[in-house]
Every structure is written in structure tokens, then in C-alpha cells.
């Protein structure tokens, strides 16, 4: 070979090496992996979460053009599997996502139990593990370094409710607590009890019921006998519906009635019709909350993501049905937004750097405020309380975000 050709070829080869090495630093896509539960007990929440994630990813890719890393804007991609709400499937699917699909970040499966199941594996691979459906505070006392929470803590669910009621009617002090006996229900009850005592409430009734209950009559008869002014309780949708219906059946009239996780879902009112009138519930997000770019700017917060209407539209497209997004979808979507901001701030796809960056940012989105503490727990986001008034869900608390005023006392069951 002639000397010059040899030299040119070497130069070309070197150039390619450098070029590919440089390009190899930044992948074509940022992949989010998700071992979600699409069948089994968590199916509904999982389905919603997947829809919410798809909606936000679409927004990021089309409106923002991708995530800004260095000079490039890299689009997001999404890979998810069905762990069937089973813990043992979570670990194997999680590892597959990490090692075979080579995802960059992970969204945890819905529910505290499933989130915990995957945590050791995520920790081992040092990959960021976004918790959007696990409200247990204990997740954050275990010393995991890569878990970032977007949903709020269970213990805070009824705190705002009690504040609202105390303000409205400080004289009515008789409080009944009746929660589902599972991790979530118990943590809400714990928080509610502690806060109620601080506010000077009289706890006249405190019971839990098993998760798979189909008749609450014995418990509710006992509750009726304690003549409470306010009833707080619940667990999830099925028992929430049952609770309300049987309260109505037994004719238990109270001044206020608030259940967790069930009331604000459209299925609740669809099933109960007039019986839902006046029933309240705390939530992390409902259609109708008034978080906007303007509000964020006024509060001096960064804003990212679609507006509420845009989110709803993208969600329906992603799911392929005319289904309303519920809070599960919003939580998951907001988690993706936080991830985007974290990557951009860290200017890197390394989980450790992104996690550190997430610890320093706060922002607002269609979901509301967001900010974590050093253990990864969500401390920035506030819950809202919503109440059914007729067939409309009205946000009644906090006052700054309210779309209507509280109907108090609650209209009687007929």
C-alpha cells in the first residue's frame, strides 16, 4: 500500500473511532423501564399509570423535542411489562429491563408492596427508581439511595381534611376513624389520629376492617352507636363504595364524611349516584385543580409539562379510550416530568448524578408542587380535598386552589 493511502486510511479509521466514541456517550433514546401491574389487584392503577406516563412522554418528545443533555435533545422511549401484581415477578422483570433492554431509569410498580419488592434489585444496579404509587413512609427509612417519590406520604392524607373541618366548625368534636386494615389505611389512620388529637378532637370510634370485606354492617352498627359528627376512613375503591352505601343503608347521618382513595374517582359517583352527595376525599390530584404556568411564575417556581387539558387529551390518546385520567395517571406523569428536569439539571444520564440533581430542584406542573427531602420522600406536594356536590366533583381545600365552597353539613342520606 502507498504510504499516503495508508496514512489516510488510518486517519479515517481514527476519525471514525473518535466519532463513534463521542456519539456512543449519548444514546439515541432515553429509555424508561416499568415493571407495572397490568393484571391482578393493582391492574386498574397500573393501567392508569402507564397511560399517564405515555401521555407525558409524548408531550416531552413533541412539544419539548426531547430531553436536553449537552447539546442534543434526546427523545424518551418507554418499555413496560406486566408483573401481574406479583412480587416475585417484579425482580425478574426489573432485571430484564435493566440488563437486556438496557433502560436508563425505572418507574416502580404501583403500590408500596410492589415498590419495595423491586427496591433491592434497583439499588444493586444503582439505577434511579421512581416511586409514584408507594405511599408508605417506611420505604424511606430503609436507607435506599435511589428511590425518589412523587406520591405523598400516607400519614398526611387526612391532615388537610381535619384542618379544613376544624376551621369550618370548631365546635363539632366527635370523630370516628374507620380504615381498611392494610399498610396504607393504617398509615393514614396514624396520621389522622395524631393530628386530630393535636387539634383537640374526641376520637369516639377507632376500628379497622379487613381488606377483602363485603359487608361492613357490624362495624357500622357499632359506629352508629358512637354518634360521631365526623367520619374519616376508607382504604381503596371497592371498600370505599361499600362503606358509603352501607352508611346510607343504615341511615348514619354525619356532618362530614371523608374517605381516602375512593371518593374522587368517577366510578365512585357513577355507582352511588345520590348517595355520594356531600362525600369528600383527599387526593393528590383531581381534574379541576388549578395549577397553571401563571401560578407557578407568581410563586417563583419553575414550570414544566402539559397543561391539565393537554394532559387529559394526551392521556385519552395514549389509552385509546375515552377514559378520564385519575390521580394514578397524574402521579406517574409527574414523576416522568421530575425525571426530565433532573436529567437536564444534572446534564447527564447517570443515575447517581440525576438523583443528586433531583434533591436540589423544586417545580410545579399540572400535578402541583414537587420537591423531595434527602431520603427521597416527597415533601413539596400538597393534597387537595374534593367533595361531590350533585354530580360535580368540587375542590374545596386548600382555599387557594378551591373551585367551590365546602357543603357543610353533609346532606343527609335519604
Amino acid at each position: 500500500m502507498k504510504k499516503t493511502t495508508f496514512f489516510a486510511l488510518n486517519l479515517l479509521a481514527a476519525f471514525f473511532c473518535v466519532a463513534t466514541a463521542f456519539a456512543a456517550d449519548l444514546p439515541q433514546k432515553i429509555v424508561i423501564g416499568h415493571p407495572e401491574a397490568l393484571s391482578g389487584a393493582q391492574a386498574k392503577a397500573g393501567e392508569q399509570a402507564v397511560g399517564g406516563i405515555k401521555a407525558v412522554i409524548k408531550w416531552v418528545n413533541t412539544v419539548q423535542g426531547g430531553v436536553k443533555v449537552g447539546e442534543k435533545k434526546i427523545p424518551l422511549d418507554y418499555k413496560y411489562y406486566d408483573c401481574e401484581s406479583k412480587r416475585e415477578a417484579v425482580t425478574s422483570l426489573l432485571e430484564r429491563l435493566i440488563t437486556v433492554d438496557k433502560v436508563n431509569f425505572i418507574m416502580a410498580p404501583y403500590s408500596s408492596s410492589l415498590t419495595l419488592a423491586g427496591a433491592p434489585v434497583a439499588e444493586k444496579y444503582g439505577i434511579l427508581y421512581m416511586d409514584h404509587g408507594g405511599a408508605s413512609d417506611k420505604i424511606f427509612t430503609q436507607g435506599f439511595k435511589f428511590i425518589v417519590q412523587t406520591i405523598g406520604l400516607g400519614t398526611r392524607y387526612h391532615v388537610g381534611t381535619l384542618n379544613m373541618l376544624k376551621k369550618k366548625d370548631p365546635a363539632s368534636k366527635r370523630l370516628a376513624l374507620a380504615y381498611k386494615d392494610d399498610e396504607f389505611g393504617r398509615s393514614v389512620m396514624e396520621g389522622a389520629e395524631a393530628h386530630a388529637k393535636k387539634l383537640g378532637y374526641d376520637i369516639v370510634f377507632k376500628r379497622t376492617y379487613p381488606p377483602t370485606v363485603n359487608d361492613l354492617t357490624p362495624l357500622l352498627s357499632e359506629l352508629k352507636a358512637s354518634r360521631p359528627d365526623i367520619v374519616l376512613g376508607g382504604g381503596h375503591l371497592a371498600d370505599g363504595q361499600l362503606f358509603t352505601q352501607q352508611m346510607a343503608d343504615l341511615g348514619i347521618q354525619t356532618k362530614a364524611f371523608s374517605l381516602i382513595a375512593a371518593v374522587t374517582l368517577p366510578a365512585f359517583q357513577n355507582a352511588l349516584k345520590e348517595k355520594a352527595d356531600g362525600v369528600m376525599g383527599p387526593s393528590h390530584w383531581e381534574l379541576g385543580v388549578t395549577y397553571t404556568k401563571e401560578k407557578a411564575q407568581k410563586a417563583g417556581q419553575a414550570w414544566i409539562g402539559p397543561s391539565q387539558d393537554e394532559f387529559v387529551k394526551l392521556f385519552k390518546e395514549a389509552i385509546g379510550k375515552d377514559l378520564r385520567p385519575e390521580y394514578h395517571a397524574a402521579e406517574a406523569g409527574a414523576a416522568v416530568l421530575s425525571l426530565v428536569l433532573g436529567i437536564e439539571k444534572a446534564n447527564s444520564l447517570d443515575s447517581g448524578k440525576v438523583r443528586a440533581a433531583l434533591g436540589k430542584i423544586t417545580f410545579m406542573s399540572f400535578y402541583g408542587a414537587w420537591g423531595i427531602d434527602e431520603t427521597g420522600q416527597q415533601v413539596g406536594h400538597d393534597l387537595i380535598d374534593a367533595q361531590w356536590q350533585g354530580d360535580k366533583l368540587v375542590i374545596v381545600w386548600p382555599e387557594e386552589g378551591a373551585t367551590g365552597s365546602l357543603l357543610y353539613p353533609k346532606p343527609a342520606f335519604k
Binding site: S39, G40, A41, A43, K44, E47, D181, R207, T208, Y209, P210, T212, V213, N214, D215, T217, P218, L219, S221, E222, A225, L237, A238, D239, Q241, L242, T244, Q245, Q246, D249, L250, G251, A267, N270, A271, L272, K273, E274, K275, K414
Partner: protein, 295 residues
């Protein structure tokens, strides 16, 4: 005060118990005739619950009309499942038929999930209620209770007064002898199985008259467990036993709540569940053929 609560609970327990009992009759019938334990029992109740919901929501008719519809659906499902699988498994190990019935349950759950999504449905069938002083009873529950009693009576009449029913009983007593008498044993098995499933699905409708919310594809599991306890209480092979077992169960569960509520540091509701399973074990230990005298 406690006595009033106890009285109220016991009363509600009896009313609920009739529905539970009727829901278990199918299970006992299938076991009595075919010696097959229908582990997918709860899923069939779920199908009945969805039938009731669909009839109310999409046809605007009261759940009473859903009962015969559900029964028909149940008989059809029963025939399909019998001829596709159960028939071939009757001579095999019990394990096989257990697993087969369980798989049927899973198929139903998933199919319903695809059709209706995993969302929780419900409807409002309000007929008003009676205030009885120590407790309040909605009329819908009364209808459910009466419905269960009527179905149980009809079953009794069928078994004892019709040729078809007697043919079925003959198969239980002596299948070889029945064959000799010209009874088509295979057809009787198919019929019994379908009848059992039909009863179970229909009971799902009655159950929604009692509790018309919380209807979702995976609601059945809880009912399967309860049904086992009730079936054993009444004697595993006797449908009438199941009915009375249901009554006893309703009384025990609700009555024991008041008792457990008096003890500090316990969760009365979970304890009533524990109590019902304890009774199950005691019965199995002392009187495995159930509380009633042998049929």
C-alpha cells in the same frame, strides 16, 4: 346498648346468611353429585354480579329480571365447561378437576376484565328502607333474602317432585344402579354441573341486591373462601345444608363481632373471620358431615 347492637347484628346476619347460603348451594350440589370442588366458585358469582350491573345499567331493568338471565348464562357456561373439560377429569385425581375449575375462574376473570376493564362498578337500586328500631333494613335486602328462599324452595321441589330431579338424585346414590335403570348418567352429570353453576351465577345477582357496589373482575376470591366454610358447615354434599349453613354463618360472623369488639387491643372484624375458620376446623374435626343430620 350492646344487646341492641347484638340483636341488630344477628338480624342482619340472618338476612345476609340466606343470600350466602343460596350462593353456596351450587358448590354443594356440584360436589354432592360429581365430587368436584369448584375452586372457581367466586368467579361465577362475579359473572352474576356483572350480569346484574349490565341489566340495570344498559337495559334499565331491575335486578330481579337479571336473575333468570344470569341463571341461563350460568347453565350455558356450565355445559361448556363440563363438556370441554370436567367430563374427562371425573375419573382422574381430584387435583386435576380442582385445577380445571380454578382455571375456568381465571378465564372468566380475565375475559370480564377485557370486556368491562378492571374498574369498580356499581349501581343504585333504591327501594327505600324499614327502620326497625334496633336496626335499619333496606327493602332491596328483603328482596334478596326472599329471592334466595324462593330459589332454595324451587330446588327442593325440583329434586323431590320432578322426574328429572329424581333422576339426578339416583345418580348420587348409586350411579351404576341408575345406569341400569336407564338413566343417562353422563347427561345427569352435565345437568347437575350446569345447574350448580347456574345457581351460583344467579346468586351473584341476588348478592348485588344486597351490596350493589364494588363489582369488579377480581371480586370473587373472597366469596369462594366463605363458600367453603359455609359448605362444610352444612355438609359438603348437601345443597339444603348449604342454605342453612349460610344462615348459621351469617349469625356467627355478625354475632361474634359484638363479642370481639368488647375486648381491647383486638380488631374485631379480622377476629370474626378467624372465628369462622376456627368453627370450620372444629366442625371438620367433630362432625365432618356437617351440622345437619345426614341427608
Amino acid at each position: 346498648m350492646i344487646l341492641e347492637q347484638l340483636a341488630g347484628n344477628l338480624f342482619q346476619g340472618v338476612v345476609l346468611g340466606t343470600v350466602y347460603g343460596m350462593a353456596t348451594m351450587g358448590l354443594s350440589l356440584i360436589f354432592g353429585v360429581l365430587k368436584v370442588v369448584n375452586v372457581g366458585h367466586g368467579a361465577f358469582i362475579m359473572v352474576g354480579a356483572f350480569t346484574s350491573f349490565a341489566v340495570f345499567e344498559y337495559l334499565g331493568l331491575s335486578p330481579v329480571f337479571a336473575v333468570p338471565v344470569a341463571f341461563g348464562i350460568g347453565m350455558a357456561l356450565g355445559m361448556i365447561f363440563y363438556y370441554s373439560a370436567i367430563r374427562r377429569l371425573l375419573k382422574g385425581p381430584e387435583l386435576a378437576s380442582l385445577l380445571a375449575t380454578f382455571s375456568f375462574g381465571v378465564i372468566l376473570e380475565e375475559a370480564v376484565k377485557q370486556l368491562f376493564t378492571s374498574d369498580f362498578r356499581g349501581f343504585n337500586w333504591d327501594l327505600g328502607k324499614i327502620d326497625m328500631g334496633f336496626t335499619v333494613l333496606p327493602y332491596a335486602k328483603v328482596v334478596a333474602c326472599l329471592g334466595s328462599i324462593i330459589v332454595a324452595l324451587l330446588l327442593y321441589l325440583w329434586f323431590n317432585r320432578t322426574r328429572a330431579g329424581m333422576a339426578m338424585r339416583s345418580v348420587v346414590e348409586d350411579s351404576v344402579g341408575a345406569r341400569v335403570c336407564g338413566v343417562n348418567v353422563d347427561w345427569e352429570y352435565a345437568l347437575s354441573f350446569s345447574l350448580g353453576i347456574g345457581l351460583t351465577v344467579a346468586s351473584g345477582v341476588l348478592l348485588t341486591m344486597f351490596i350493589s357496589v364494588g363489582i369488579h373482575p377480581y371480586m370473587g376470591g373472597e366469596y369462594t373462601l366463605k363458600a367453603f366454610v359455609i359448605a362444610v358447615l352444612g355438609g359438603l354434599a348437601s345443597p339444603y345444608g348449604a342454605f342453612f349453613g349460610g344462615l348459621v354463618f351469617g349469625l356467627l360472623e355478625n354475632g361474634s363481632y359484638v363479642f370481639f369488639a368488647q375486648i381491647q387491643g383486638l380488631e374485631p372484624f379480622a377476629m370474626t373471620r378467624f372465628f369462622s375458620f376456627l368453627i370450620l376446623l372444629l366442625i371438620l374435626l367433630l362432625r365432618p358431615t356437617g351440622l345437619l343430620k345426614a341427608k
